[in-house]
Symmetry: C2
Subunit: 508 residues, 2 copies
C-alpha cells in the first residue's frame, strides 16, 4: 500500500479531515441555507419569472473542472446567487402561471428535510419499517379524503403507493396490464396489444407504452372535439376498439384523464369504464393535476366513475403542496403490480418479507431504492389539515375564476374552453383583430398574434404563462397554483396581458 | 357557487389562512427542523441500528384519518421522535454496515435543500436553464475525475445525465438498445432479443429487461465461479451467446458490473467488451457502488476497459455523499437514448428546444418531470473538493481493511472473497465448528450457524450487517461507508461479532 500512503501525503495537505456529516457543521450550515431560502422567497418577485439567460450561459461562468480543494459554503452560496438564480425559472414565484404549478409549501419542505435527513433507502419493510408503514397509512388517509372506493385502499384489499411521477405510475400499470394479458394470450402476441387514450392525453402514456414494448403503431390517440370540451367520447373509443378487434388486435389499456395538460379537459369515466370492461382492459385514471381538487366535496364529481377503474393517480407535487416529486397512485389489485415488478434476490431476503405480513414497496414500482416520500405527504396533511387544504385549492380556483371574469369582461378576448379548475385558456380571437384586408387565414393570423403576445409577455419577465394548441387554436394558458400567489398577482397579470395587447394592437 | 360559499363558511373556522409558503414561517420552522436533525445525528448511536418494531406497529399508533384542523409543527416533531424514529433503520448511524451505504453528508443535504427550495421542474432547458446546464457541467466534472474516456463527456459528443437510481439507468439503456436493434431486425423480432449478465448482476437488470418487453426466458444469468472471484468469464459469455445465435436469437445487451452487490466482484471489462463488440451488443457498466472509488488513481484500474462500453453508471447516493437519489449515468451516443425516449407535445414546445442548441433531459430518462439533482452533486464536489472526496473514500477502504485484518487474525473466521473496496465478506467456516459428530452436511450447518450469528447481532441493535449467499456459502457482509463511521465503530463492531460467536460456540 505504498502508493496509497503517498497519495495520502499529497492530498492531506488539501483536505480538512472534517467528518462529512458532522452534526455541528450540519447545524450551522443548515441554518445558513434556511435563511438563504427564506430570503429568496421574500425577494422572489425581484427576478424575471422566466429565466432570461441564453443557451450556454453557465459554462462561461463556471470552471471547467471540479475544485481540488474544499470551498466554503459562503462562496458556494454567493455563486448560487450570482450564477444559478439568473438561470432559474421561478416556479415558486407568485407571478408564475405556466404549465401546471409545482406547489411548494413550508410543510412539504420540512417533510423533504426529514426524509433527506434520515436518508433511508426504504426498498422493503425491514430497511425502515416506518417508511413503508407511514406510506400505507397516509395513502389510506388521502384515499379517504378523495372518497376513493374502498377497493383502492389497504383497508379494502387495494392499496396506495408513492411513485416519483405520473410517468412511473403509468409505466408500472401498463407493464402490469401487459403481463396479465400476455399470460392469457401468450407472449408471442405482445405485438398485438393496443393502448387507448384521447389525443389530449399526456405524452407520458405513449412513452410508457413504448418503453414497455408496446408497438408504437398500436397506440391510439383518439380525436376529441371542442364541442365535447375535448373529453374522450365513449363512442369513439368503442369504434376504435372494434376496428382493432376485427383486425385481430388485442385491447389492453385505457388511460382516462381528469384535467388534461392542454385545457384541463375531463374524460367521462363512467361510460369509458363500461366500454373498457367489456373488453377486459385495464383502466388507469390520470388525475395528475386535477385529482387533488376532489378532496373538496364540490369537485368530487369530476372523478365519479373511478370505481370502474383499476388504478388512479395524482401528483401531490403539482397541486398538493409536497414539492417535487410525489405521485400518489392507488390500485385495486396490488398483486398484479407485484407479479410484474417483484424481485427477490437473496441479499434482500429477510424474515418480515418471507412472512408475507408486510408491504415491500420495491415490488410496486420500477426502481429498487426509494426515498421516504411519505414523510412530506404526512407533514402536509397534518400541518394544514383537511380544512386548510380544501381552502388553499378553493383559493386557487377562485383566483382563476377572477381571471376568467376579467378575460370575459374585455371584448377583445375569449375564454376558449370551459374552466373547471384553476386554469384558464384564453386568446385574442380573430374577430378582435384588424386582419380583414390582409391575405391568409384569419385563424392562422390569430394564432400568430397570440403566439407573439405570449412571447412578449414572457420576455418582459413580470409573469410567465405557457400555451396550448388544440384543434388548430393557439391559446394562452393561465394556471393559478403557485403557493405565494394572491389576488393582487392575478390582477397584475391581467394588466400585463391587457397592456401588451394594447401595445400590439396599436402597432398593427 | 352558493355551495362553495357555504363550504367556506364551515371550513374557515378550522383554517388558519396562512400562506403555505410564507417566508417567515419557512424561516422559523426550517430552523426547528435543522436543529431536530442535528440533534438526531448527535444522538443517533442511542438507537438500535436495525429497527426493532413489529409489522403493523405504526397503524396502532396513528389516527385512522387525516386531521381536519391544522396541527403545530411541534406536535408533529414530537410524533416523529416517538413514533417514527423507533421504526427507522438508521442508515446514517456510524454502526450501520448493512447492504451498501446511503452516504449522507452536510453538503449533499444542503444541495437537496436548495433543490427542494427552488422546486423547479426541469424537464427541458427553458423550464430552468440552470438546472440543465449545471447538470451537464457537473457530469463533465465528475467524468473527468473518473478519467472516463472523452467519448462519454459532452466535450467529446457523449454526455452525462442524473437519473434517480441505477434501475432507471439500466431501463433507459435497455430500451435504447432494444429500439436500435429492432430498427435493424424488425419489431416482430422483439421476442428474440437476449440480455446477458452474470449470476451476480443486480436484480435491476432482469426487472428492467422484463419491463422493456424482453422475454424473461431470454435473460441469461451466466454462472460465475469462486475461483474467478465471481467475475463474469468472457469465455462463458461467448459460449452463451453462440448457443443463442445458433438458436436464431439475437444478442442485445450486456450488463457488466464493477462491484457486485453480494461480494463486490468485478467483471473484466476489456475482454467482455471485445466479445460484445463482435455481436454489436450494447454494453452497460453498472458501477453503482464501486464506481466512486475510481476518482482515486489507485482504484481507477477497476474500470479499465470502460472505453469499450456504451454507457456507464454509478450511484452518487451510495458512496459519493449526495443523499438518495442520485445516479450518474454517461452515454457515448445520447441520440440513441433520445430516439427512444423523446416526446414533443405542443405544450412543451419552445424556441430554445426548437433551436437544438440545448439539452432537454426529459428525453434522456423515463419520466418527464425531474428534480434539480445537479445542485447536490455540485455542492458535494465544491464543498469537499477532489482531495477530501478521495480521502473520504480511502478512509472507508482503510477501515474495511482494518476489519478484514481483524477477521483474518481470528482463526475461527475466514474472509470468503477478496476485498477490493470497503466491504468485507466473512463467515465462521465449517472447520471452526464442532460438528464432526453430527449428521448432515458441514456447509449447511455452517450456513445455519452464520445465519444465526447475523440475526443475533442485528437483534441486539448495536450494529447492523446483512448477508449474501453465493455458491452455496452464506456469508456476512460488512460494508463500511456510513459518513459518521470512524475506526472506533469498526473495532466495536468486530467485538460485537466476536462476543456473539464466543457465546454461540459456548452453547454448542
Amino acid at each position: 500500500m505504498g502508493s496509497l500512503a503517498s497519495f495520502d501525503e499529497v492530498e492531506n495537505v488539501f483536505s480538512n479531515n472534517v467528518n462529512p456529516l458532522d452534526p455541528e457543521e450540519f447545524r450551522s450550515q443548515g441554518h445558513m441555507i434556511i435563511d438563504f431560502l427564506a430570503d429568496y422567497y421574500q425577494n422572489i418577485q425581484k427576478y424575471p419569472v422566466l429565466s432570461q439567460v441564453e443557451p450556454g450561459y453557465l459554462v462561461k461562468r463556471l470552471p471547467t473542472t471540479a475544485p481540488y480543494v474544499a470551498e466554503p459554503v459562503e462562496a458556494i452560496l454567493q455563486d448560487v446567487q450570482q450564477h444559478i438564480i439568473p438561470g432559474i425559472t421561478h416556479w415558486q414565484s407568485p407571478n408564475y402561471f405556466a404549465y401546471f404549478p409545482s406547489s411548494g409549501s413550508v410543510a412539504g419542505f420540512l417533510g423533504e428535510m426529514l426524509s433527506t435527513g434520515f436518508n433511508v433507502v426504504g426498498f422493503n419493510w425491514i430497511s425502515s419499517p416506518a417508511a413503508t408503514e407511514l406510506e400505507s397509512i397516509v395513502m389510506d388517509w388521502l384515499g379517504q379524503m378523495l372518497d376513493l372506493p374502498r377497493a383502492f385502499l389497504f383497508s379494502g384489499n387495494g392499496g396506495g403507493v408513492l411513485q416519483g411521477t405520473t410517468c412511473e405510475a403509468i409505466l408500472c400499470t401498463v407493464t402490469a396490464a401487459r403481463d396479465r394479458m400476455l399470460l392469457k394470450v401468450g407472449r408471442d402476441n405482445i405485438g398485438k396489444l393496443v393502448v387507448y387514450a384521447s389525443d389530449q392525453t399526456h405524452s407520458a402514456l405513449a412513452k410508457a407504452a413504448k418503453i414497455a414494448g408496446i408497438d408504437p403503431k398500436n397506440f391510439r390517440a383518439i380525436k376529441t372535439k371542442k364541442s365535447a370540451a375535448f373529453g374522450l367520447s365513449p363512442e369513439s373509443l368503442r369504434h376504435a376498439i372494434s376496428i382493432d378487434v376485427k383486425a385481430g388486435l388485442i385491447p389492453l389499456y385505457l388511460c382516462a384523464t381528469i384535467g388534461t395538460t392542454s385545457t384541463t379537459a375531463v374524460d367521462p369515466l363512467i361510460p369509458l369504464c363500461d366500454v373498457a370492461k367489456e373488453y377486459g382492459m385495464w383502466v388507469h385514471v390520470d388525475a395528475a393535476y386535477a385529482g387533488s381538487a376532489s378532496i373538496c366535496p364540490e369537485f368530487r364529481h369530476f372523478i365519479d366513475g373511478v370505481e370502474g377503474a383499476d388504478s388512479f393517480s395524482l401528483n401531490a407535487h403539482k397541486w398538493f403542496f409536497t414539492t417535487l416529486d410525489c405521485c400518489c397512485m392507488w390500485v385495486k389489485d396490488p398483486s398484479s403490480l407485484i407479479k410484474s415488478l417483484s424481485t427477490n434476490p437473496e441479499y434482500l431476503r429477510n424474515k418480515a418479507s418471507d412472512s408475507k405480513q408486510v408491504v415491500d414497496y420495491k415490488d410496486w414500482q420500477i426502481t429498487l431504492s426509494r426515498r421516504f416520500r411519505a414523510m412530506k405527504l404526512w407533514l402536509v396533511l397534518r400541518r394544514y389539515g383537511v380544512a386548510n387544504l380544501r381552502n388553499f385549492l378553493r383559493g386557487h380556483v377562485k383566483m382563476a375564476k377572477r381571471f376568467e371574469d376579467l378575460v370575459a369582461g374585455d371584448g377583445r378576448f375569449e375564454v376558449v374552453v370551459p374552466r373547471y379548475f384553476a386554469m384558464v385558456c384564453f386568446r385574442v380571437p380573430p374577430s378582435a383583430l384588424p386582419f380583414r384586408n390582409q391575405v391568409g387565414n384569419d385563424e392562422t393570423r390569430a394564432n400568430e398574434f397570440n403566439r407573439e403576445l405570449l412571447e412578449t409577455v414572457n420576455a418582459a419577465g413580470r409573469i410567465y404563462m405557457t400555451h396550448a394548441e388544440v384543434d388548430g387554436i393557439y391559446m394562452l394558458r393561465f394556471a393559478v397554483g403557485a403557493s405565494l400567489t394572491e389576488d393582487k398577482h392575478v390582477i397584475m397579470a391581467w394588466k400585463v396581458v391587457q397592456e401588451t395587447v394594447d401595445a400590439m394592437l396599436n402597432t398593427l
